[in-house]
Symmetry: C2
Subunit: 409 residues, 2 copies
């Protein structure tokens, strides 16, 4: 008997029947050919990985803690890792009163996003997101049936007037939003940073309407210019901000490690959720990472990442000036940190259609329309500058410029 497609389709959940493969991940497969220079991914540069340090760390840790590293661990996370993460956060911020009830170790921040979805979202619940926003966040929330309302992102964060207008409309109609999802620092995909003024305003508005804030901060420590701004978490005295953090961009993504900082009541619920989701994050990975931090290696690593990525970002911006057609209405963000920047073409250009010309010229970006919670725009694309090497950035932007020149001539 052969597989009964119809039966299977009729048995799956509403969410999974509408879920689609991530455009980015599918495109990445398409552009795996060696001749293509891809700016489509969001990968850290492998030269930043602590390969050699980890050899000794793993061997030493296995000798000391082998039986703990290979056993089930607590759902909350490894105590030493939690302690080190809390201390580091308090050292670097104005927050001083955290304890182990404020933190939960997770299997990187995509898991945190999924867990936030499970914690808050019932089918058709409203949430608000930046437009554009991180694709993985949107997919995680969509999988729980969330209806997303997007707020336009500007060069210094969301359009606050529009945010309030949309909230007003929602609350006036007797509805509410569960949370606002934001990446305040070097946003994915736009690369912009929310200003201090807008940060304060967002907290104020959340207080007024009474909703939670999910602050996703994967890139915050990768700042290449200007002064660091406070976390939303620091600006909120009420515990309505849930902070999501990851080792993926400052250390390495291959160990799948992140953490959540939030009010103990929130953490308590998330622990219960994590029990049902994967019991615990790999103790092996947590213990070697705690050892890495305890040896004081993380700060130097981050500094090196910053230097490398700053160079690549500047190189990409310079290459844009050099190779993109002048005076044709092309704009791009000038990130002060992170891994991405966002290019906007004149509104009549559709970057989905343009993608095929781009690929033919052996270069790749990510189509911008994939990043919208609602009402997608079609004239933008995302560029990653952390992964491609310096010569690839120069050559790739040149190839992209050729396509743009032809299209906009």
């Amino acid at each position: 008997m052969s597989f009964n497609d119809e039966m299977f389709e009729s048995h799956i959940s509403i969410a999974s029947s509408t879920m689609k493969r991530s455009v980015i991940r599918e495109l990445l497969k398409l552009v795996e050919k060696p001749e293509i220079i891809s700016f489509a991914g969001g990968l850290p540069a492998p030269t930043t990985f602590p390969v050699d340090e980890l050899k000794d760390i793993v061997t030493t840790s296995l000798s000391k803690y082998g039986n703990i590293m290979l056993q089930y661990g607590s759902t909350e996370g490894d105590s030493r890792l939690k302690r080190l993460l809390l201390k580091r956060f308090m050292d670097k911020t104005s927050v001083k009163n955290l304890n182990e009830n404020n933190i939960l170790v997770v299997s990187a921040s995509q898991q945190a996003l999924d867990m936030v979805g499970k914690l808050f979202i019932d089918r058709d619940d409203l949430i608000m997101v930046e437009n554009p926003s991180y694709l993985g966040g949107l997919s995680a929330f969509r999988a729980y049936g969330a209806k997303m309302i997007g707020v336009d992102l500007e060069d210094d964060g969301i359009n606050i007037e529009q945010f309030e207008e949309k909230l007003n409309k929602i609350y006036n109609s007797g509805k509410k939003i569960k949370f606002f999802y934001t990446i305040p620092d070097f946003q994915n995909p736009a690369g912009v940073c929310t200003s201090l003024e807008k940060r304060r305003k967002i907290i104020e508005i959340a207080d007024k309407y009474d909703f939670m804030i999910i602050e996703d901060a994967p890139y915050k420590e990768l700042r290449y210019e200007k002064e660091d701004l406070p976390y939303l978490y620091e600006l909120d005295p009420s515990g309505r901000v849930i902070g999501l953090f990851t080792f993926s961009k400052i250390y390495c993504p291959g160990l799948r490690l992140g953490w959540i900082i939030a009010h103990p009541k929130v953490i308590d619920k998330l622990v219960i959720i994590k029990q049902a989701v994967d019991l615990c994050t790999a103790p092996f990975n947590q213990i070697i990472t705690a050892e890495y931090m305890e040896r004081g290696l993380l700060e130097g690593r981050i500094q090196k990442n910053i230097e490398l990525y700053r160079k690549r970002k500047n190189l990409m911006l310079n290459a844009f000036e050099k190779y993109f057609p002048n005076g044709k209405g092309i704009k791009w963000t000038k990130p002060e940190g992170g891994l991405f920047l966002w290019v906007s073409l004149p509104e009549n250009i559709n970057t989905e259609e343009l993608f095929f010309d781009v690929i033919k010229n052996n270069v790749a970006y990510v189509i911008g329309s994939a990043f919208y919670g609602d009402e997608p725009k079609y004239n933008s694309f995302r560029m990653n500058f952390s992964y491609p090497t310096e010569d690839k950035i120069e050559e790739g932007v040149k190839r992209l410029g050729e396509v743009l020149k032809k299209k906009l001539s």
Copy 2:
């Protein structure tokens, strides 16, 4: 401003407002005192962990594959690990036609259970489970709002007549079940094994009513007596069985690694789900495990586990004979494999109440009522024999016997 409990509670999802901490995990915390001999956990014996082998494997792998181990990986899983797992499965079973589209690597089988929940369950959907069943499965499905119908488990698998009766009633009322969740081999918590006849019957019934089967097989390779039985997956020609597998009990749980084998259409959907859940399972953990398998170390490891656990299981059964009161209506299962056995007391004894006496005598089990999908029974408890050492088993069962003798005198 202080945390607004009411606001938070009013914003969380229906599922998370009803989710409770796992009874087992909370009890485990309670019994962490060193004077208590605990049979409550489900941990493998740490002496079975490949601590020393992994030192060399990690060092060698980091030299060869460091940049891949520490980078993001594909959602589907590491190619070498998938190839090795498929080959091993085909070598050991009658299944011969699998390829890489039939497999997905996951972060251990609790994640597989969560993903199965996301794939199939909308709020109030019906599923069927064994009564009793694995707590982690029940929590994962409950988190998606499943309504669980339990079928009584007997010494050779579920009561087939009751299964058909309940299905008849459901389908006659115009409803359907999404899937039947079963652990055919050395079931958690009962320790029983579904007979070949019942396996065939379950497939036949699933064909008749047209539902999926989730076959959870964490213990199947830990058989201490008698002949191995085929997987449900082997007996089903139609692709309605989704097989869940884990390294946790045959290698170690601390790397959080498992895999799913199913029809390509099912795997395809699960890949999309996994993108939203955690992007990928840690490449680091997958690559060292592939290396472990490629060095041919897994089979010897499993054999050693079998010898150790067989000894502990027999020791526990003997201790029951020796220390439990005779002729008082106490029954227990006699597992041919796995990590657990199930003790049933006369129906008037409530093991939740008895738990406090048991703890006072410095010994612990898991209360049986936690394991029911519906209509819990209160006169049973689960015992683990893989983790406690031989002398603890003897002494612990003696302490338990003292409580039972007093209670049943």
